[in-house]
């Protein structure tokens, strides 16, 4: 799903708080833009001091406030994390998000790794708010350790079942979340996956093997976010597509990772 309305504007920072070590939640005043955002879509956010804008998925969008959840991974996100107020240049909402229509008849299962939780959080909220989607979802969430698990309470609040794994065993199952997913997922489920490439590869393999429908949100280095630089090419069903414009969300059965 995608909205055709996109904006290249300056927005005011409302807050930018560290929610746990190295993870920040940025809230900006986005006016009417907030209502055009769909789960899985992203914004290119300008950070002073680095050349390119950073693509960051929408974490939540309420009234006129847009939220982003991000991890400090390099220079750009480092500078962004130190901004407590002021203004940011943003371009978006961009890309195609998750298809919610399919959820009407299937049980929805979200699989998240790391900050991949952000777009799935927005998805869970949208599913919770819309009447046709009566079923509660299940979240499978993998992280390195307990301290890397984000917003579990928010999923529980909206009635989702939460299954957690950590690589060091500090919370939930010890190991990868895909090990549990493989045992539990059924063809009556619809999968929504967002996370690092090794996790997505495994999710795609499981989904294809068990003939489970679903969507995977991909991540590639991108310069423009609108399809012009063609930096973020990806092979989808044998054709070259742009992660930023044709994705970042693609049908799992069409993804070749």
């Amino acid at each position: 799903m995608c909205t055709l309305k996109r904006f290249d504007i300056t927005c005011k920072i409302i807050s930018n708080k560290e929610v746990c070590t190295n993870y920040f939640e940025l809230k900006i005043k986005a006016g009417s833009i907030a209502k055009y955002c769909l789960p899985g879509q992203f914004f290119m956010i300008g950070v002073p001091g680095v050349f390119l804008r950073r693509p960051i998925s929408v974490y939540d969008s309420k009234k006129s406030v847009l939220s982003f959840l991000y991890k400090v991974v390099g220079k750009g996100t480092g500078i962004l994390s130190r901004m407590r107020s002021g203004q940011l240049q943003i371009l978006g909402p961009l890309g195609k998000g998750y298809d919610l229509e399919i959820c009407k008849d299937l049980n929805y299962v979200a699989v998240a790794g790391g900050t991949g939780i952000a777009s799935l959080h927005f998805l869970a909220i949208k599913l919770g708010k819309n009447k046709p989607y009566k079923k509660k979802g299940t979240l499978y969430y993998g992280a390195r350790s307990k301290k890397d698990l984000l917003c579990l309470d928010k999923f529980k609040e909206i009635g989702w079942k939460v299954v957690v794994s950590t690589e060091d065993g500090s919370k939930g199952y010890k190991g990868y979340i895909t090990d549990i997913l493989e045992k539990k997922v059924k063809d009556s489920d619809v999968l929504f996956a967002c996370g690092p490439m090794p996790m997505l590869k495994k999710v795609v393999q499981i989904a294809k093997g068990k003939k489970v429908k679903g969507f995977a949100s991909l991540e590639e280095k991108m310069a423009c976010g609108v399809g012009n630089c063609q930096g973020c090419a990806v092979n989808i069903n044998g054709a070259i597509k742009m992660t930023c414009k044709d994705g970042p969300v693609f049908k799992i059965e069409e993804v070749n990772l």
Binding site: R6, D8, F51, L52, E220, I240
Partner: protein, 311 residues
């Protein structure tokens, strides 16, 4: 009394009338029409498309881009849908904008350049061709580094082209002024200076190249002084107009290129970061001209470049 007269930005370029000297740069603005919802495209001087080849090209493997200090490295590999597909929907959409259209062309041999230009220049809506002779992303030697081949491509293309031909040169040559003269003598109607700079970056965390092809093309603010120098040197040696290109982010940057000798400019990396910067640049040019009390932008072209320098 004349109060704040609006300076004229209109400029004639190879016989094409432009409302201002700001063009998009090849490779940074897709097929030219895709951002119509984000910026008023008809405010630009002209639209220059990404490079089109005879057959479709799927481009290079990931990663294709890497950020560096004040710039961008790319190795896209000329991904495009090919000339025949381009003249259908993309060109039709682009034509609706109502601006002069310049199409960038590349080929793997003289014949390919010629065939592509034959197809494209036959389209009524295309105002000019820009030959990409300097794409540093192809694994083979770039055309610009082979003087007889450069001349052969230009001469052969000129024989078939129904529209003016601009030649985009690589800055990585021994003498850019001599190469520009060589292009002029072969029949070029204009020169673009300059393409991206061959460069590379290595990720020391992973001990891997930052681009799949190891080397790529450097663009962005960091290359601007080098491209201004290319324009300056070439302007002294040639009579055909120059498209200044490299790291332009503001109206002042545009005037810097024009003072050195560029007749028009093309903006690339900055428009990838923010499309609306193209419109902002145009209003900034107007502002600077007003401050300097210059009524016509044509006065600026080569204004500072009137004497021959030793080096």
């Amino acid at each position: 009394m004349v109060l704040c007269m609006k300076p004229s930005l209109a400029i004639d370029f190879m016989g094409i009338k432009l409302k201002n000297p700001v063009l998009t740069a090849s490779g940074a603005f897709g097929y030219g029409y895709e951002l119509a919802d984000l910026i008023p495209l008809n405010k630009l001087g002209a639209i220059l498309t990404k490079t089109i080849t005879l057959e479709p090209k799927s481009g290079n493997l990931q990663p294709r881009i890497a950020e560096v200090s004040s710039g961008l490295l790319n190795s896209i590999g000329l991904q495009n849908i090919g000339a025949k597909a381009f003249i259908k929907e993309p060109l039709e959409n682009l034509s609706k904008v109502g601006l002069p259209i310049i199409v960038s062309v590349a080929g793997s041999c003289v014949k390919e350049y010629v065939q592509t230009v034959e197809i494209l220049s036959a389209q009524d809506t295309i105002s000019a061709i820009e030959l990409n002779l300097s794409c540093p992303n192809l694994k083979k030697k770039i055309v610009c580094h082979d003087l007889p081949l450069t001349q052969e491509v230009i001469k052969s293309v000129k024989k078939v082209s129904k529209v003016p031909v601009i030649v985009k040169l690589s800055p990585l040559v021994t003498d850019i002024a001599e190469l520009s003269l060589c292009a002029q003598n072969a029949g070029a109607n204009g020169i673009t200076l300059a393409n991206t700079y061959p460069a590379m970056a290595i990720d020391v965390k992973t001990f891997k190249y930052k681009l799949s092809t190891a080397k790529g093309g450097l663009s962005g603010a960091c290359v601007k002084p080098m491209s201004v120098r290319c324009v300056y040197d070439a302007y002294q040696n040639i009579d055909i107009p120059i498209v200044g290109c490299g790291g332009i982010e503001t109206g002042e940057d545009v005037l810097e290129f024009m003072l050195a000798g560029a007749r028009v400019v093309s903006v690339g990396s900055a428009s990838l970061v923010s499309p609306k910067i193209l419109i902002k640049i145009i209003s900034e040019i107007e502002k600077v001209l007003k401050e300097k009390n210059i009524k016509d932008i044509r006065e600026v072209v080569g204004m500072l470049n009137t004497t021959k320098n030793a080096c």
